[in-house]
Amino acid sequence: MTALTSQAPASRQPISFALLAQVILIANSFIMLYPVVVMVLSAFKTTGEIFEHPFALPDFTQVGNFAKVLGETAMPTYFVNSILVTGTSIVLILVLGTMAGYAVARYESRTNTFILLFFLAGLMLPLKLAVIPLFILLRDLGLLDSRWSLIVTYTAIGLPSAVFIMAGFLRSLPSELEDAARIDGASEPRIMWSVMLPLARPPMAIAAIQNAVPIWNDFFFPLVFIQTDARKTLPQGLTTFMGEYTTDWGMLFAGLTIAAAPITLLYIALSRQFIQGMTAGAVK
């Protein structure tokens, strides 16, 4: 096909165009990846080596920076906090979002439109701007400066999109499935749990990834809610860490590399799911 079009006299898409496209794409991928590569390479260097030979390959056996970051700083604590906060938020989002999405999708009700509008509003409104009342509310609930302050905030932000993803999928399932189970005398909870939900794993994965990446990476809410160092998440802890070791660039790059590693590796392994999940709101 391509050969045919490029031979056609009317076609104005010469080989040089394809070459230009290739050059642009390679240059772009280089710009996207090279900073990450320099970050990783610098993490294996001493500060002096970084300043003198910024682009040289390091001695990869020199892992002193990593040992220091993991052994002498609070980075492992930040890491555990990030996992706890992200994990709990995602579980809450999936459980509550699936329940509400199921009700909206599978049961006729006059209140459905109202419920959907309610969640749609939550999807559009940037909660960041309501951070002052949220701050006071969390203080009154005694949650300020705890991991729960972040978990409830992230769950509230993530719920609407999860409801829409789950409802959209569950609505597409044929009603013969549940009717058959209903004739067999299965209860409604049983139909949901054993018949419908086993089919709903793909949208759950999308809802999970769509929310997990921004939650894992969020910096704004920890900055406002968390003061105690032992409860900081990775992005927030990173600012503390970067402030402490300002002159030790080897340490700084090692810290950044350690913070970036989990999500980057996960992305490389599951790039299709990541891309699908993270663009789910914008691609219909």
Binding site: Q22, S29, L96, Y107, I132, L134, E188, F219, T239, I275
Partner: protein
């Protein structure tokens, strides 16, 4: 009073549906609806630290928009948000559109390029901000090091310390971070165009530029709608990149100050001077919120109409 089996069933059914929906409704009401409604109310009060004082009407709003100390800062920051929005529309969304078109043709290695362009998107903005801050360091950053090694010493600058380049550097760091998002959203949009349309145009001898302008661009209008709306909301909520790279004060000399930084300083104070004013902060948040809601809806409606026209 005994209930009939049918009543029992509907009652049971209703409580089952309520059990499914009510936890989410309560959660959203408490942590989204209530804070947003309170944010409006708070703006009408005087605040002493965390304690709410007396009702002051529109005083806080007047101070934010016209006050001698606050208004110049707010309008200066607003202007930078507008610059960022325009620049990112061109660099980030426009660049994403062209990259998507190159990927759409599935040239050699397109799978690799598609994964590569999205790598920075998954990274935390904090990591991206710090990484570029180190790269842009005047003495030891790789950008200036590269310029020195190429003999272009004259071009080396303290990028983030120079009033003329600092905001541009933040915008480019942001574009590096997020360009993969519009690229892949546009790519998905292009892949939904029926291939016959593009083939027919090619066989008719349509030039590449005409094809892009008259066929592809109109047909990916739904993607444009959502990407421009998201960018609009994002540009006026801009906070993390400036916070990490230039600090809370939008240095040098406020040339990188944006509304997100002004809001944070006003509401939660500065490291140097920890004055916090929830009243002014809430007024600023309310105005920003209304601005975003009104203009984002108008933008969406206008872009939607445009979708139908084509």
């Amino acid at each position: 009073m005994p209930v009939s089996p049918k009543q029992a069933r509907t009652l049971k059914h209703r409580s089952w549906v309520a059990f499914l929906v009510i936890p989410s409704i309560v959660f959203m009401s408490l942590f989204v609806v209530y804070p947003i409604l309170s944010a409006f109310a708070y703006a009408f009060y005087d605040w002493q630290g965390l304690a709410r004082g007396e009702f002051v009407g529109l005083k806080n709003f007047r101070e934010v928009l016209f006050g001698a100390t606050m208004a110049p800062v707010v309008w200066n920051a607003f202007l930078h948000n507008v610059y960022a929005l325009i620049a990112l529309m061109i660099v980030q969304n426009g660049g994403g559109f062209f990259l998507a078109w190159l990927l759409y043709k599935e040239p050699f290695g397109f799978r690799f390029h598609r994964v590569a362009v999205f790598v920075p998107v998954v990274l935390s903005t904090i990591i991206v901000g710090f990484l570029w801050k180190l790269f842009l360091n005047p003495n030891f950053g790789v950008i200036n090091q590269a310029l020195y090694s190429l003999g272009l010493d004259a071009l080396a600058k303290p990028w983030l310390g120079d009033s003329s380049t600092a905001l541009g550097a933040l915008i480019l760091a942001n574009a590096w971070h997020f360009v993969g998002f519009p690229t892949l959203v546009y790519l998905a949009g292009m892949q939904r165009i029926p291939p016959e349309i593009i083939e027919a145009a090619r066989l008719d001898g349509t030039s590449e530029w005409q094809l892009l302008k008259n066929i592809v661009w109109p047909l990916v209008a739904p993607s444009t709608t959502i990407l421009f709306t998201l960018l609009f909301i994002g540009a006026f909520n801009w906070f993390e990149i400036p916070y990490v790279m230039v600090g809370l004060d939008g240095s040098p000399f406020g040339t990188t100050d944006v509304l997100g930084l002004v809001f944070y300083r006003t509401a939660f104070g500065n490291q140097s001077a920890s004055i916090q004013n929830f009243g002014l902060g809430s007024a600023l948040a309310t105005l920003l919120f209304l601005f975003i809601v009104v203009f984002a809806s108008m933008l969406t409606l206008w872009l939607r109409r445009r979708e139908i026209q084509f």
